[in-house]
């Protein structure tokens, strides 16, 4: 099987650096699958669950924050502000963040605050979703 190189970087440093056989990312306009040898591109990513298959055909799931993906010369670089594996996610914290965001969204907010709170809610929901899919 063909492989390409995948690097996932978050603000805390390198998250994954290795081979990739299949990648599914949450683009801003829906999920997108990427196989080795893809056309060169830069796409925007939204909060969501990223899945990749490493060189040994194992699937991994990662909760990511906003960012972008660049595919060039058969190398894929994912730059996001946060990246977490299911085992690193603190359910209680995510629940708390979700509750807080929902509460704030009910208040009268400026357009910007509203967007921020929605983003925070999306982050919390992504974490919870990944955690619950991990347990089943």
């Amino acid at each position: 099987m063909k492989t390409s190189h995948l690097q996932i970087m978050s603000a805390d440093g390198m998250f994954y650096d290795g081979k990739m056989m299949h990648l599914i990312v949450p683009a801003t306009d829906g999920s997108m699958g990427i196989l080795p040898g893809h056309e060169e591109m830069i796409i925007a990513l939204s909060e969501g669950i990223l899945q990749y298959q490493d060189g040994e055909e194992r699937w991994f799931k990662v909760a990511i924050g906003r960012g972008a993906l660049q595919y060039a010369n058969n190398r894929c670089t994912v730059l996001v502000d946060t990246a977490e594996r299911p085992e690193d996610i603190d359910v209680n914290r995510a629940m708390e963040a979700k509750r807080r965001a929902e509460e704030r969204l009910r208040e009268k907010l400026s357009e910007r605050e509203y967007r921020n709170m929605q983003a925070a809610l999306a982050r919390a929901l992504t974490r919870l979703k990944l955690k619950s899919s991990d347990n089943t």
Binding site: Q7, D12, G13, T28, M41, A44, A68, T77, R112
Partner: protein, 297 residues
Amino acid sequence: MAQLREIKNRIDSIEGTQKITSAMYMISTTKLRQAKISRDNNAVYFNALKNMLERLLRHLPSFDHPYLRVSDKPKEDQVHAYIVVTADRGLAGAYNLNVIKAADKLAGEDGGRTQLFVVGEAGRRYYHNHGVKYEEGFVYSSERPTHARSRAITEIVLSKFEDGLIDDLKIIYTDMKSAIENDVRVRQMLPLVSAFDKMKNVPGDIYNEEFLLSPSPREVLNAVVPNYLNGYIYSALIESFCAEQNSRMLAMQTASDAAVSIVKDLSVKYNRARQQVITQELTEVSAGAEAIGAFMD
């Protein structure tokens, strides 16, 4: 006797100060070590981000986007915003003053109107004492930078820029060049066109053949630019924090050394004075004995 006690008191007080300065030195060393780790972790991400943005701007078709727009207001009406990164505390040599001086110089050169976003208590205190106006609600500490803090800062400046309240944004921070040298740096952050001036010469209409920008160039810029700014601000904060600890280490080292040499001088003085007192007492005793002896005869 009075002089003796005076010298003793001074020695004690200087030794006390020395204890404090060497403790502060140790604290700065530890903080610097921790800060360097986060700096190195961040460097990988930030360099990749910078490369991506450069590539993006190179392949961008010529189109209008708020982040690329250079202000067309008359020069004297333009509002120049500066993020000035200072320390929370003093006692770090010329660290704070160097940043503030650079900011003042820059504001003088740019002309127009100035808006200051000051990070760190020391900088705010300086501007307050000198009657310079700065953004009051902007109260961020420079101690142990976090992503949450840099994100909040990005949020504020970006919204001001998007709303047209500021026309450009520069950041003034300190770079730790080496263990003994700090360098004040100035970087333009917004609008992006001037931040990446050299890209202007590359024709913008070749993107379609090379890069697919999905869903649209605008969306991609919207996703990348805030992250880039956040990354830049975080890097500047962490770099400044390293430089601050470094300056403080040097300042405290110098202070401790000075304390040692003062204590050395004072102990010589103290011993001499003590010797003098003893000699004087001896002279008095022997003179007394002689006087008594002379009387007995």
